[in-house]
Amino acid sequence: MASINELMEGWGFGKQTAIGTANTSGTIWRHTNLTTKPWPKVPMNEDDKAEIGKGHEFPTQLFKSHYNMPPYEISKYASSEFLAWAMCFSLGNVTMTGSGPYTYVIVPALGATNATGLELPYFSFVQQIRPGGSAVLDEMLVGCAVKSWKLSIKNSPGRASAMCSVECVTTGQYTSPSGITLPAVSTPHEFNAGMITALTFNGVNYLSGGSAKQFVSMEASWENNFRPGFFPGSGSQDGYQIQGRFEWGDRAFGVQFVVRVQSGSTEYSNLINLTTGTATFTMARDANNSFSMLIQKMGFSVAELGNTDGIVTLQITGVQLYDATNGLVTMTLITPVTGICQ
């Protein structure tokens, strides 16, 4: 028996060289996770129930089918390291500069110019409980990709005011034992809502001036909508078919935020007048750790009047428009960790 607290998780901060080639130890970090379960492996069997000619309708044989690996969520307090990792692996076009701290500029890759077409960088995921001679769990899932993420900012104290959860998928390929000695658990440089230094949506600055006390919460999200990766030649593990690629489908970038309503609030008029503008969101812990999300052109699709803890609020749903020159969104991260997605 083992306690779930013994579960150690590490994953590639560097990218794999190919979907079937695992990360090496030097490119794997170890982090804690608020998701309190391991990533399950789910081999699926099928039977011959549907086939006629047996003389009855009951199944008589089992067949190995495929690894149906469920998505797995890595949920953490937002930090410069984790956000850099999430943005790099979910968006795909990354530039890294500096010599410590390192600056990552990230935009969504385009299929026409991405070196790997519609595929994003892959990483390996290691999970261990008492690794060694009598391990309870020791395996490395190979060919993982970031399917989606959600960044939540809210009015609350402490680390929970800035959270990021990342949903990952994997092919079904694995090695066990992993052969990896995980490093010591990382201490990420975490943010909280008090570290927000820029918060301007569609012309309204919610940090200063007349709207300084309006802001309540924000949720930004990204979804890659991966297509199923089973195809002729996609590979097998233990006799079960595995997925050989994760190609993005119609990607979706969502932003919702809640603000208090006050006299002269411009959110309604911005919606009705189809006003668009940039949106800038920045959290800065210090000179070595910051996150900035620059949405190039945001309009509003819904502004719904409501109530948040007894205060009249508007829930705004943004529409992020693609700008011909500057694209959809640019993420800029400064973090002490080098080699993320490299």
Partner: protein
């Protein structure tokens, strides 16, 4: 380009390589247009100027 500015080498979809300032403002339109970061090209050693061969002196 300012001397103290961090720079990065980028390659266009057509293969052109350019050294640009590593700022969000500079990189964003390039990356959106499909440019990708590439390693800095290795510095070429200075070509050694070869002296033209001196015409052999005529023996007197």
């Amino acid at each position: 380009m300012r001397k103290d500015m961090e720079t990065v080498h980028m390659r266009s979809p057509e293969g052109e390589v350019k050294e640009v300032e590593a700022t969000t403002e500079t990189l964003t339109p390039l990356m959106v247009a499909g440019w990708h970061q590439v390693p800095a090209p290795a510095a070429n050693p200075e070509p050694i100027a070869q002296k033209p061969a001196a015409p052999a002196e005529e023996e007197k």
